[in-house]
Amino acid sequence: MSSILAIDGLSKHFGGQPALTAIELAVEQGEFIALLGPSGCGKTTLLRCIAGFLAPEAGTIRLAGEDVTRLPPYRRPLNTVFQNYALFPHMSVAENVGYGPRRQGVAKDETVKRTVEALELVGLAGFGARLPAQLSGGQQQRVALARAIVNRPKLLLLDEPLSALDLKLRKKVQGELKQIQHRLGIAFLFVTHDQEEALTMADRIVLMNRGRIEQIGRGQDIYAQPATRFAADFIGDANLLVVERRGDGSFALLDGAITLPVANAPQGELTGVLRPEDILVTAEPVPGRLALPAVVSEIVHVGSHASVALAISGTTLAARLAPSALAGLSVGRPVLANIRLADLRLVPGDA
Amino acid sequence: MTRPIRLAAAMLATTLLTAPALAQQPSSITVAWYGGNWGDAFKACVAEPFTKATGIAVNAEIGTSTVTLAKLQQQKSAPTIDVAWMDGGISELALAAAVTDNLDPAAIPNLANTLPEAIYKSGVATYAVGTGYYSLGLTYNTQKVKAAPTSWNDLWKPEFEDAVTIPSPANSSGVPFVMFLSKIWGNPSGDLSPTFKKIKDLKAALFFDSSGAATNAYQSGEAIIGAHFNVGAWDLADKGLPIGFVVPKEGAWATDARLHLVKGTPKKEAAAKFINQALTPEASGCLAEKLYLGPSVKNVVVKPETARKLPWGETGSVKNLQLFDWAEINGLRARVVDEWNRQIARK
């Protein structure tokens, strides 16, 4: 069976500036996908191309096997939850939710039935007669969701739908959204710049940077095996180490303190990625690990753990320790930083 | 657009200037006169020489006679206008409204050199003095109208259909013109219906409410024949347009522009001096040259070219003009306006 959404070689320019370059993406039935990246990375542009508000210069977009690249927005079997909800201010909640079915020529009583169902699903039963201006931000967000899902789209696009809510409400709505998605079995394509939101909600994350897709995968996979320096840096904390390519083909890091043998490393500039929790700080060497002499330069307590800054060969590395491992550590003390070479990944990109 | 601003400025200026009790000469007076080339001529012929001679500045309050009278009536208790030019007819209404003061020959010595016809008295008091006559004659386009018209009845000729213009009652000449027509047709003065019946038959292009509208109509060719003031018609001819002006055999209706001293003005002395200035042969001659106003001052000599264009023609005098009894006209004014509205100004 073909993917719900299949994007192939999609490119988009704005006045000669590339906004999207060679985007390849496939979304399966019922998947929750997060489009993640910093502002200006092209995630919203990609969403607008899929919705039909922007026309790409190259590539195709297929929805459930149908090429919709040149179709106007109103002919595409998908719906969008807009960033600021874009509720129609002159229509009641029920009129807003029933708008899609009415436009599609659904019978009147069927429209009413679906509207009531959709409002029940988002927990707004009985709010149908109100005007959007009479609702709170969270309620408006739910109306926007109900207005989109009432059409039973094959794919739901969500453009940073939670960014206008405060933190506590956002957490609550995140859970509800995930639940609703689960119940409906509709594929969600969710744009966000918040990595935590993406990690908690998405089945897969599409990580974007400068109009390109850096990596696609489950959150934990991107974390454990970042494909690029940007991926390593954007998802979770990482120590990014300069990699020198030696004449014999081997690699040196930390001024030669670590030497890696010739491996199937990619061409071009490389960066060494070491997660802070992969560094063990001890007084004595740990068997099976490479012990690097270091000096503690800073200790920051962050509740459940502590972040320790270590000076090694003129570079500062961050280590993440459990509070129990902090015993006997103080700023200025020489220690050993123990690492496993297997934890050290070489990825393309300049450190 | 600028009229309310100018009005406000003039009012402000006069309020500021009259505020201190002044026994000595004021620094300015306010004179109401008409817009366009009339105002320009009054300024050049009277106001400027006056300021030069006395050092008193003149603020112009621009408006038609009727508007000026309305203003005077509204500011009766505290006038901001000191001297007002108003046409014959409106002048009598101003007298009835008691907004004019007596013109004292001692304060205005030039009254002695003025034609007796131009001095308007109510009992012993002089309420107005004429500064020049103008007439409403036949005006025509000399290219489109081959033979010069000789009678007002020529306006009803079929060849002029939809190209005629006469004044509407909104114009100061409108009501008297209706009565003038009534008189030349020999209709009884008490019954206007035959007169209106005939006017209704006139195939007019427009009924002009202002002299400017009439000038526009002749200039654009919208009207090729009709009534117009000698002042306006000769002005067009002077610009090189093919416009002729004749006094028809029935005569031309005429009136004059009169000066009034506003009752209750705190600057009575300066105002009287201004009126005296307007009655000098120089001022009167100047108005004749600029506006073709028939001089109301005795022994004014004008150029032969100008004399031809005066309201009474080359050889005539004030005796040849049909000057109406304004009391009669004003008595019928409301009725004429109403009848006109109902019968003429309706499709």
Binding site: N84, A86, N151 | A170, G221, N341, A345, K347
Partner: protein, 277 residues
Amino acid sequence: MSRTLRPVLLLCALPGAFFVAFFLAPMVVVLIASLTTPAGQPTFAHYVRILADAYHWDVLWVTFRIGALTTLVCILIGYPLAWYLVRIVQWRPWRRFCVILLVVPLFTSNIVRSFGWMVLLGRNGLVNDGLIGLGLIERPMRFLGTELGILIGLVYILLPFIVLAVGNALAKVDPALEHASADLGATPAATFRTIIFPLSLPGLMSGAVMVFMLAVSAYVTPALLSGGRITVFSMLIFQQYSSVFDFNYGGALSITMLVLTLALVAIAGRLSEPRRA
């Protein structure tokens, strides 16, 4: 408390005094005049004279008909024009130029404008020459001195009020609403009908009310373009004040006009109010 209140009261008093001096006081003067005889005795005679005379109703009918047609034509031309300026024109200098072109008539002198109309609409005017040249008519059509002529003149100077009011309303419609509408399956026509037009309606209404009020109360344009052959109500009022000097009867005419106009506008406002559940 009274200490903090006093400056506020003083600040309010200034516009209040302005309102009383320039709006309320003249209105009261006219109202009182309309209810008294020239000698100052109270009377309804002026109103009876107006309302009992079919001629006045006739003139009112002409006046309001011209006002309504002016409003209608202004909407039919002004709405698309506002749309063009706000939604289609991208190049800002061109938009600015168009707006200036639209507003310029308001600043030209009446005499210049009236001469312009004669040159354009007169018997030998450009429009008639053009129509005859194209073979559409044989004899010059009469524009001046007809309701059509007055209509053209009023639309010309009142159009900017609709365009600016509607343009302002259209510019305020969030583009996201259009996207949302398209996203929910509405064609551009359906989006206009269900979203954009209803949201621009308040602007359209306020523009229409302004145009209607200005059209029925207009004096100069009808006076110039009627050629004295058609009478609208403001001319009757002006005649009483400027030619006949009957301020009592003139006042009653003014108040009649004011009350009827406000009543019509109120009815129109009630009728066009969007139905609300």
